[in-house]
């Protein structure tokens, strides 16, 4: 890319045979095409900007009325018109964090297996199955959550974590095991983001040059060492990109989370306690919200979610940039 751009194939003809078709050495068709594509591309930032402005304007009455209290208060009372989104913000961040904690190691394991270890005839069908997970509608995950995941969590998983493993001594695994909980939301999200991270990671790992692996092997590395020293570091920034994609999905996921999180406006350290997320709050209340104050509060939640998504993504991008700048781990 650093080379000077090569001259276009079409040059100005001085003989005046076809002067109409050329301007500044380029065909008009090229210019039209260029402007058209630029217009389409500009649509995206324009769209994002308009959405942000529209939500901000609609949510402004609430943000002005409650100020910072909107972000810190735990009261959400549509009857009296008192709104605070702290539990929903907390729930969004915590459930996404749990999801990534569970999904990332699993997804990397899956992608390493598929790209490095799996027998060739297994790769395709297994990769297909992983991708299939991404195609399941979220409401189906939600129903599966209600009828399969929650009963399993209620017994034996939650009592096992709390009593048998003795994690009940920490504040994170206390309280009654009803099922709907932050933990359930995190697990559902983990399953939903897993295919995104696994798919991207697998593609990235497949793109690691053969020479990398061969160089490591030539140095006498075992298979495990090849993956650890030569392959994973090379693919690091791509894998983190996949994790960011998964994070974006987790932050915005609505239906499945709503069905298993318990929908309670409360911040609790225990993962067994019910919680709320911003996306589920909007999904739950938007259709029946009739007062202006209530609608505005939901829009303010939407705006907060918008801002948080951008901030979290910016941090993640910065991480990728930090990591790829180092670009260590290249054997050749």
């Amino acid at each position: 890319m650093s080379e000077p751009a090569t001259a276009p194939a079409v040059v100005v003809h001085d003989d005046g045979d076809e002067p109409v078709l050329r301007i500044d050495g380029r065909a008009i068709g090229d210019r039209i095409y260029r402007w058209m594509i630029a217009g389409f591309a500009l649509c995206i930032p324009l769209l994002v900007g308009l959405v942000a402005i529209e939500i901000a304007v609609a949510g402004w009455p609430t943000l002005r009325k409650f100020g910072v209290g909107f972000l810190t208060s735990s009261t959400w009372d549509p009857v009296t018109g008192d709104f605070g989104a702290a539990p929903a913000i907390y729930g969004t961040l915590v459930s996404s964090a749990i999801a990534l904690l569970i999904a990332t190691p699993l997804a990397i394991g899956v992608s390493v297996f598929l790209s490095e270890l799996a027998p060739a005839r297994l790769r395709r069908p297994m990769a297909f199955l992983v991708d299939l997970l991404a195609a399941i509608p979220s409401v189906v995950y939600g129903l599966w959550g209600i009828f399969v995941l929650l009963p399993v969590l209620r017994s034996p998983v939650m009592p096992f974590l709390r009593d048998t493993l003795g994690l009940g001594a920490t504040p994170f695994f206390t309280g009654p095991a009803y099922g709907p909980s932050m933990l359930a939301a995190g697990i559902i999200l983990a399953i939903m983001v897993l295919p995104f991270i696994a798919s991207v990671s697998r593609e990235v790992l497949m793109a690691v040059p053969r020479a990398q692996r061969e160089a490591a092997l030539a140095l006498g590395a075992t298979r495990w060492e090849v993956i650890r020293i030569a392959v994973l570091p090379y693919a690091r920034s791509g894998i983190i990109g996949g994790i960011i994609l998964g994070l974006g999905r987790a932050l915005g996921e609505t239906m499945a989370v709503t069905m298993v999180i318990g929908n309670r406006h409360e911040i609790s350290a225990s993962l067994f306690a019910p919680g709320y997320t911003m996306a589920s709050l909007i999904a739950n209340e938007f259709s029946e919200a009739s007062s202006d104050a209530h609608l505005s509060a939901l829009m303010a939640v939407g705006f907060t979610l918008f801002v948080i998504t951008i901030v979290v993504n910016a941090i993640a991008r910065w991480l990728v940039w930090q990591v790829s700048r180092g670009a260590s781990g290249r054997v050749v």
């Binding site: 008009i28 210019r31 039209i32 402007w35 058209m36 217009g39 389409f40 500009l42 649509c43 324009l46 769209l47 308009l50 959405v51 529209e54 009261t75 959400w76 009372d77 549509p78 009857v79 009296t80 008192d82 209600i146 009828f147 929650l150 009963p151 209620r154 009654p176 009803y178 099922g179 709907p180 709503t258 069905m259 318990g262 929908n263 309670r264 406006h265 019910p274 589920s280 999904a283 739950n284 209340e285 938007f286 259709s287 029946e288 919200a289 009739s290 209530h294």
Partner: protein, 359 residues
């Protein structure tokens, strides 16, 4: 010249984007409904989801009998009221009557037409208990405020002398999504418990003192079915179709009444007898008087402007109002909705006549 054409193209593309961004908002429905109205639809309405099954049956039957097509979008009561106020639909529908503030925002006087009666039942999961649990409104309010936390609480036991109640915790389950069912339930609790009326009060969404929120009737019943010791509330129709255990509630007359279509209609009949002649039908029938009346019942309403601006549509709407009051009510019970009591139907027909279609 090309520059201009490109500019126009780009603007067109932007306009397309701009159109997309409004898609999730409720107002977009008006544009699509207006478009549909142009192609073979005679009337459009929007609103409540709870009566949607019976409304779609009515509109289908009505179209088959008269050829008049009615397009109904079940976008929720709040959306129905908003669209009616903006004048983008010919009629609205709501599970809760419009408030005075909402009426003031409308483009003229709005008439409330009760269509069918919905009842809300208390369902529970108590293994080994087969006969219906007996509860009073007071006890239900105490449970939902977190003041009764054990099933063998003396206040529950006193109502159920024959039953051995477990010593387990009560898990309260409520709706998480905004819902007419929650409105009816909280309206009832507000009417029987002064403490509840103060906070959390009544509404389609509440600041619940305790419990777990589940989405939809299916979410609540799923949670209750799976958790021994859970209690929840769902629509009568949903409970009937899924054979859920339901509690008998004490009514004003002092009887314990099990929820049914008949006992819900009785609640409306009891309330209708006491209606003043000039009622606007924005009435609550929870805790209704009368023998056999089930206490957690409510109308659901069609919302119609008294002064119709379009003479043709107004006349069609008026005819439909008469049709549902006579023909439609007959099929309500087939879909597990309670029909209006006879003493209300004649009065509502007179009210349908009061809709004006002339300028």
């Amino acid at each position: 010249m090309n520059g201009r054409a490109l500019l126009a193209l780009a603007l067109g593309a932007m306009a397309a984007c701009g159109g997309d961004k409004r898609e999730p908002s409720s107002t977009s429905g008006s544009a699509t409904s207006a478009a549909r109205a142009g192609s073979g639809t005679d009337l459009t309405g929007a609103g409540a989801t709870f009566p949607y099954p019976i409304y779609s049956k009515w509109f289908a039957d009505y179209a088959a009998q008269t050829g008049v097509k009615i397009n109904y979008q079940s976008i929720g009561s709040g959306g129905g009221i908003r669209q009616l106020s903006e004048g983008t639909v010919d009629f609205g529908a709501s599970d809760a009557p419009m408030s005075d503030a909402e009426l003031a925002q409308a483009k003229g006087p709005v008439l409330h037409f009760p269509t069918v009666i919905g009842a809300v039942v208390i369902t529970y999961n108590l293994p080994g208990i087969t006969q219906p649990l007996k509860l009073t409104g007071d006890v239900v309010a105490e449970i939902y405020q977190g003041r009764i936390t054990k099933w063998n609480d003396s206040r529950i036991a006193a109502l159920n002398p024959g039953l051995t109640l477990p010593a387990s915790d009560v898990l309260v389950v409520h709706r998480s999504d905004g819902s007419g069912t929650t409105y009816i339930f909280s309206d009832y609790l507000s009417s029987v418990s002064p403490g509840w009326a103060k906070a959390p009060g009544k509404g389609k969404e509440l600041a619940w003192p305790v419990g777990i929120g589940a989405k939809g009737n299916e979410g609540v019943s799923g949670q209750v079915k799976q958790t021994p010791g859970a209690i929840g509330y769902v629509e009568l129709a949903y409970a009937k179709q899924n054979n859920l255990p339901t509690a008998a509630l004490k009514n004003v007359a002092g009887e314990f009444v099990t929820p049914s279509i008949a006992s819900a209609t009785k609640a409306a009949a009891g309330a209708a007898e006491k209606l003043p002649a000039n009622t606007d039908y924005r009435i609550s029938i929870v805790n209704a008087p009368g023998a056999g009346a089930y206490p957690i019942a409510s109308f659901t309403w069609l919302l119609v402007y008294q002064q119709q601006r379009d003479a043709v549509k107004g006349e069609k709407l008026k005819r439909f109002l008469h049709w549902y009051l006579t023909e439609g009510e007959k099929s309500a019970a087939t879909l597990d909705y309670a029909p209006l009591p006879d003493n209300m139907v004649t009065r509502l027909q007179a009210r349908a006549d009061s809709v004006r279609v002339s300028a």
